[in-house]
Symmetry: C2
């Protein structure tokens, strides 16, 4: 998920704000007791680089190493000098360095501008002014003044970056500075040991191995004291994103406690109507964001189910069971007497994807049906009465209202919109037989007029929808095109948004405010190691 | 004193650097043991202000209060907002505030620009770009990013200011910020109690009372772990400035230990030829600056003499006696066989003042003669053999070489330059009888072609030269015009430089890099309470 603009929030936001949050202190305490001790390790830059124009590259430039780090640490820099360091891959952590001196006197402070880049544009272009409608406070640059040199400089804030641009705004005519022992204390809930212990992906396809590796780095760098949205921008826990991160985590790092902590964080903050916030703030104190999203709310139950299956921890699911039931109320309030989902039943926010003008009736119908089925399975697992058996029957029948038999696709809204997302969610819900669902998804994908996803979040559901309905090959093809496209473009971690045709694409008006290590983009590891595991194993032996 | 540019340093600087510093560890330890525990106290802003154009004001604007601080703390500020706080007078210390929030979510960091102003221009104009040849790192602004709000923000660096401009670079569309409990923890070696205990100046002239008060604030704010040059810019201990600050201190706060500490700091760092550095750095470790100034070197002895007289501490003077003798060597090396000072005898730097093109032969002759006499007095006080009796005789006689009998002034150099500084130092040295000396100073002051001083440092020596030669009334008139001119212009503390005709005057190319609380400008308290004490007492009773 990501930032939302004040203007984006539906008109009923103010009405929703009237609903009180009923904080569950016990759950908040449980979440608090699960606060992880972050692991940290030291990473050094690997070289000094410059970027040269390259029209064939996605970012229209390529890095050229110009100096080794040992040469760099012996080089002095004065007013107006600038240097770019390459840390070799994506890091999340705390920068420090020794600021050395060459000259007769240090008779003035040193003023430096440090710019932390996830992609080349961050360090090859000026970040200011930034034409974005979200906060420019996210822009990853700092100006610091160091009074007494030589000095050890420790930057107190956490940054997310591969490249570090150091600009010397001024020293004095009497001295220059040197940068020695530049390092980042990288942090994650995932230790390097644990990350290294993830079994090798047993495929021969180098591209898939790369996609899996980059997914894991993305996930690792988002796993901090919560599953963060993006370590550079937003840095918060969102419910729909949590579900995908947790699924990738079960196939890789298996950190069940961090998922459990996040489940309790949401469960600690239900509204009086049972709805869970789409996002919570950990700091400075636990509080719900003002965003409530019907689909994120409904996905809480499936997230608990996934956790219970993966961890074997039934106790938590039993304790959270009333919360799961409460979290479905808002979604179910959108069903008519036949069980058909109507987005306009309330003004509450239905998300599914950021694509502009997406009709959500069909997709939300699929999503809610999917959630009901998952929660029914959870009930069976933890010996609770199955709550949504009738609703599943009705909704399965009602799914046909969305089906256009002649075209073999699901349509949505008064314009009978065909979107990839509608097919994906009705496919994931098993609204029809496998063959029909697969055909619906592939038909929409083949239709140039169909509404495509904008975010990796929505792409994931399409990919999983394909795989779950017998379209494993198509799923792999989509992964190779989409996530593989980011790999070819030079991604160290997967991005918040990706358009192979436009390296400046941004949901926020300016790509300098994009996040290039983003939670909802880390799912290929789950697809390759979970959903497609048997398929790949079989293919490998053929 | 103040910053010097690399280019300003005489060509022999490199030769001088070859001379080693022979660190005296015992003296360094003594200095270290005298490190004061700084006093601190809390000051709050008194109002929110705006500056309105006022062509009659020195800075062409006047402050208008727009809001009380209690109203201000309830006001919310968002992207692009700006506010100026007035702390009522000059403060040196550490800023902190509570950064409060108004809005639905704090979903992004807050980015603020804080600008600390000693004078209106600092906060009414953009500081960047700054057309200065010294370091722009001194410019008093910071950009900070605060990740988690609400938060207590403590700025780690020390600032020197009366005005604080807060610019909100960004919050987010979802929240605004509030500034509550804005405060500065003001610091000084002088406690508020001690400052308040300085006896009232017994004069009726309101102007003189103001000048004395502002001198004391200037001195207090420069008295930190050393006598600083300026708490905003330079922040270092310079020898010539120390002497004047110490003299003002003996008439007010009487902090003898801080003077003693500074004497030992210099004495710890003689060059192998006996010269003392013009300036020392305390941090990160004690070290001499690369600047050696012949006149500052020679003034060490008089500074020890003043200290001994004021404190009664003979032991220190006895211990520093060899250092005193060593510190005269460089100056005396400029005398010819007749005892006449020749600046061109070495390329070493003779300062006296920043005025461009000042001929220093006459002034330096006076200064060295003055120093020899003071050191002779010190010898008598501490029962050492009087070292410079013969030299004083010779130099007194040789002073006549500089005297132009027909014009009644001292002239200097091949152009027979007449400057206020030449008269001042020969007058302070008592090179001729009182009447002739006074006539020489007043004649130069009356001569529109004579070279005027540029700095308050040089103005002080002119003023004291007048007073010491029977020109007490003229001294008061000069003080009222010069320091009184700063008072009329709105000074809270006395400035590094002042030109009543030009509020943008700067020795550094841009007044934004000037210091407006400067050590060598604090001497009126010494003149009024020391040099002119008897004269004012007599005048008061008439």
């Amino acid at each position: 998920m990501a930032d939302t603009e004040a203007g984006d929030v539906p008109a009923n936001q103010k009405v929703e704000k009237v609903l009180k949050t009923i904080t569950n202190d016990l759950f908040a305490q449980k979440a608090s007791s699960l606060l992880p001790q972050l692991h940290s390790w030291i990473e050094h830059p690997v070289s000094v680089i410059t970027f040269q124009p390259d029209p064939t590259a996605f970012f229209k430039c390529k890095p050229i190493p110009t100096q080794s780090i040992s040469q760099f640490s012996q080089t002095s820099y004065g007013k107006g000098d600038q240097v770019i360091l390459d840390f070799g891959s994506h890091r999340v952590g705390y920068l420090s360095f020794h600021l050395g001196v060459e000259g007769v006197n240090v008779d003035a402070p040193a003023r430096l501008r440090l710019t932390f880049g996830e992609i080349p544009y961050d360090v090859t272009e000026n970040l200011h002014p930034c034409k974005t409608w979200i906060s420019t406070s996210w822009l990853p640059d700092e100006i610091i003044n160091v009074d007494w040199l030589p000095a050890d400089v420790e930057m107190p804030r956490r940054y997310s970056f591969r490249y570090l641009k150091i600009g010397v705004l001024d020293t004095s005519p009497k001295y220059k500075v040197r940068f020695q022992d530049v390092r980042v204390r990288a942090v994650s809930a995932v230790s390097p040991h644990l990350a290294a212990a993830v079994p090798k992906l047993e495929v021969e396809d180098r591209e898939l191995v790369d996609i899996d590796r980059i997914s894991q780095v993305t996930l690792r760098d988002c796993m901090q004291t919560v599953f963060e949205d993006g370590p550079r921008r937003d840095r918060r826990l969102w419910l729909g994103d949590l579900r995908l991160q947790a699924l990738a985590n079960y196939c890789t790092f298996k950190d069940y406690d961090l998922v459990k902590r996040c489940l309790y964080l949401f469960a600690a903050l239900p509204r009086e109507d049972g709805s869970l916030p789409a996002c919570v703030f950990e700091k400075p104190k636990l509080s719900p964001a003002s965003d409530y999203i019907v689909d994120y709310d409904a996905l809480f139950g499936p997230t608990v189910y996934d956790y219970t299956l993966a961890s074997g921890d039934h106790e938590t699911a039993i304790e959270l069971w009333p919360t799961v039931l409460g979290s479905m109320k808002m979604a179910l309030a959108h069903l008519d007497e036949n069980g058909q989902f109507h987005s306009d039943a309330t003004a509450a926010w239905k998300f599914l994807d950021w694509s502009d003008g997406l009709e959500t009736d069909a997709g939300m119908h699929g999503l809610v049906l999917f959630c009901c089925k998952e929660i029914n399975k959870l009930a069976a697992l933890i010996s609770k009465p199955v709550p949504f058996a009738n609703i599943v029957s009705k909704m399965t029948a009602a799914a046909l209202y969305f089906y256009d038999e002649s075209r073999g696709v699901f349509v949505s809204g008064p314009t009978r919109q065909i979107s990839w997302s509608s097919q994906a969610w009705l496919g994931l819900a098993g609204a029809m037989d496998l063959q029909s669902c697969l055909k619906a998804i592939t038909a929409a994908m083949a239709d140039p007029k169909a509404m495509k996803p904008l975010t990796p979040y929505a792409y994931h559901h399409v990919a999983e929808g394909l795989a779950r309905n017998g379209g494993e090959e198509q799923c792999l093809k989509l992964m190779t095109e989409y996530w593989g496209g980011m790999v070819k473009a030079g991604a160290d971690t997967f991005w918040e948004c990706f358009d192979a045709e436009d390296s400046r694409k941004s949901p926020y008006g300016d790509c300098h405010n994009n996040s290039y290590c983003h939670a909802w983009s880390c799912t290929p590891s789950y697809l390759l190691r979970g959903v497609l595991k048997d398929f790949l194993a079989k293919r490998q032996t053929e």
